[in-house]
């Protein structure tokens, strides 16, 4: 599993057997991957779980590779593309490491939960202790393994934590069906807001 799909693939597939994603996604379901990159995940799901695999990708070079893998990917922007899909068009909508990059994350979440029966949302946890320490000790915009960018060229425009997401979900009455917290490829069971590098939520409408 190489390529630039991003941490969801690497984290979830880090076990070497696509374990976590395989556990979540039911065979034969219809999956939309927002920001599908070169389509590795979708191609794997199509090959191994008989999934009807759809993707959205903004980068033409990555899109080219995704389609060449046989993935039905569409050149578009995450924030504007969702409006066209009918309600409950997909069994799962995946959004990997991108929620912190979109202009209106709440709106995107609402759109995702309209077009999908379930959302699988992965994002880097800004509450991780190393991020907190970097900010506290240096007095500068945190720059860590997880947030490697300088403030002026970072794609991240919202800095949310595990707790932030849980609070918004409760307020919006989204049902969090499952949660996975990862540090590297290791699953974190306690104090996720402090210890998780990546949070993965399986969300549906209440």
């Amino acid at each position: 599993m190489k390529g630039e799909h991003g941490p969801l693939v690497h984290e979830l597939f880090g076990r070497g057997d696509y374990g976590l994603i395989s556990e979540i996604v039911e065979p034969g379901s219809c999956v939309l991957d927002l920001g599908c990159g070169e389509g590795e995940l979708l191609a794997w799901l199509a090959d191994n779980k008989n999934v009807d695999a759809r993707g959205v990708e903004i980068s033409p070079a990555k899109l080219q590779k995704a389609i060449a893998r046989g993935v039905s990917a569409y050149q578009g922007d995450i924030e504007s593309c969702l409006a066209d899909y009918p309600d409950k068009a997909f069994d799962y909508v995946l959004l990997s490491q991108t929620l912190q990059e979109v202009r209106y994350p709440k709106q995107v979440m609402q759109d995702i939960l309209r077009v999908g029966r379930r959302a699988i949302i992965a994002f880097p946890n800004f509450g991780h202790y190393k991020v907190r320490l970097a900010h506290l000790l240096n007095g500068r915009a945190p720059k860590t393994k997880l947030f490697p960018y300088d403030w002026y060229d970072s794609p991240n425009i919202h800095f949310l934590t595990v707790d932030d997401f849980e609070i918004l979900a409760a307020r919006e009455r989204w049902q969090i069906e499952r949660r996975y917290f990862l540090s590297g490829t290791k699953e974190i069971k306690a104090m996720p807001n402090l210890l998780a590098e990546v949070a993965v939520f399986v969300v549906s409408h209440a």
Partner: protein, 362 residues
């Protein structure tokens, strides 16, 4: 591989208008081998001035118009797939058209040939495909007017098409596209040699047809590709601009290989085509199809701009249908679909492989 265009004769074809043409010839070529299950057949459909000779080399040394895309190991891999290409109804390359003899009169049809539509072209292709014993095509693919036929296949024979690849095409001509076609038609009809379409026993309207083709070639290129190819360079022998010389050459060359009346009929068929049958939205008409789509457009194509491809793609997405879409970067204008081989081959290879796999599973 040396290939030869075959002709198959059918008793008749009923057009969408209800008019029946008797004794219809359909010219076609095939490449590769049909498998035992007859599940690997792909119909490639040509653009406005194309013909059945899509691939390989003919006995007189002519390379097929999509030779770089069809063949062993190419985008349409003839080691895996059985590829069929036919000349369109109304054409002049072996399939019945205005230049053909009307069996009822013993004379060439000329302007008495009935109006044909993109739907009629597809009906003729369906007849040929069925005569080869093929019930379901793995894919129908084509650019420009070929893309219109691809779309027509997907909505009028959804059960017969597993996948569709419309390239640099549209669900309906815009006013601008109709306008360019009308200039071409008027150029032909303004030539006294056209003579109401009755020129087969004298000389063809070469000037008019040549001017029509010159206009066409301008629309197939882009500002950037013309600048790069010709700039303001002038020829040393006669002092005319390179671009003038090119267009004149292309125009005169076209006269030798195309029938002026076919030009009128086929451009009209393109202009009349409307996948939505006059409705604003494409969504209802696309309701019927379960076909997988791969839609491709090109950045510099101003004749069939990307917004027209996007209209198709977005209508399919509204139906939650299986569609891949990419706008490829190219400076070649509308010609890009014949020129940008590597990217298209990579996309089509993956798309067809997945379609084949899903089809064998279904």
């Amino acid at each position: 591989m040396v290939v030869e265009t075959q002709i198959k004769r059918f008793d008749s074809i009923e057009l969408e208008s209800g008019v029946v043409i008797h004794s219809v010839d359909i010219a076609y070529e095939t490449y590769g081998t049909l498998n035992a299950a007859k599940s690997n057949a792909i119909l490639v459909v040509h653009a406005f001035s194309g013909d059945a000779h899509a691939a390989g080399v003919s006995a007189d040394g002519q390379r097929g118009w999509w030779e770089n895309m069809i063949g062993p190991g190419k985008g349409f891999d003839t080691d895996k797939y059985f590829v069929i290409c036919t000349n369109v109804l109304g054409g002049c390359k072996g399939t019945t058209g205005p230049i053909s003899i009307n069996p009822a009169t013993g004379q060439r049809y000329g302007m008495s040939f009935p109006v044909v539509t993109i739907g009629d072209m597809v009906r003729a292709q369906k007849m040929l495909v069925e005569s080869l014993g093929i019930k379901r095509l793995l894919s129908v693919a084509g650019g420009s007017m070929g893309g219109m036929q691809v779309l027509e296949w997907a909505v009028s024979h959804p059960e017969s098409v597993a996948s569709a690849i419309p390239i640099a095409s549209t669900a309906r001509h815009s006013a601008q596209q109709i306008a360019f076609n009308e200039v071409g038609r008027q150029a032909i009809m303004a030539d006294p040699d056209w003579n109401g379409g009755e020129y087969y026993d004298s000389k063809p309207p070469a000037r008019g047809l040549s001017v029509a083709r010159m206009v066409g070639h301008i629309t197939y290129m882009s500002d950037a590709s013309m600048r790069e190819k010709f700039g303001r360079r002038q020829r040393e022998d006669n002092g005319i601009f390179e671009v003038e010389s090119y267009l004149r050459y292309r125009g005169s060359q076209f006269v030798d290989r195309f029938d002026a009346n076919s030009y009128l009929y086929i451009t009209k068929a393109m202009d009349l085509f409307d996948l939505a049958n006059g409705a604003q939205s494409l969504v209802p008409v696309l309701n019927k199809t379960r076909t997988r789509f791969l839609v491709i457009s090109f950045t510099s194509d101003w004749l069939y701009p990307s917004y027209q491809s996007l209209e198709i793609v977005n209508a399919l997405r509204r139906r939650n249908q299986d569609v891949a879409y990419i706008e490829l970067t190219s400076s070649y204008g509308h010609d890009a679909f014949l020129v940008e081989v590597d990217e298209q081959a990579e996309l089509i290879t993956g798309f067809l492989a997945r379609t084949m796999k899903e089809n064998s599973r279904a």
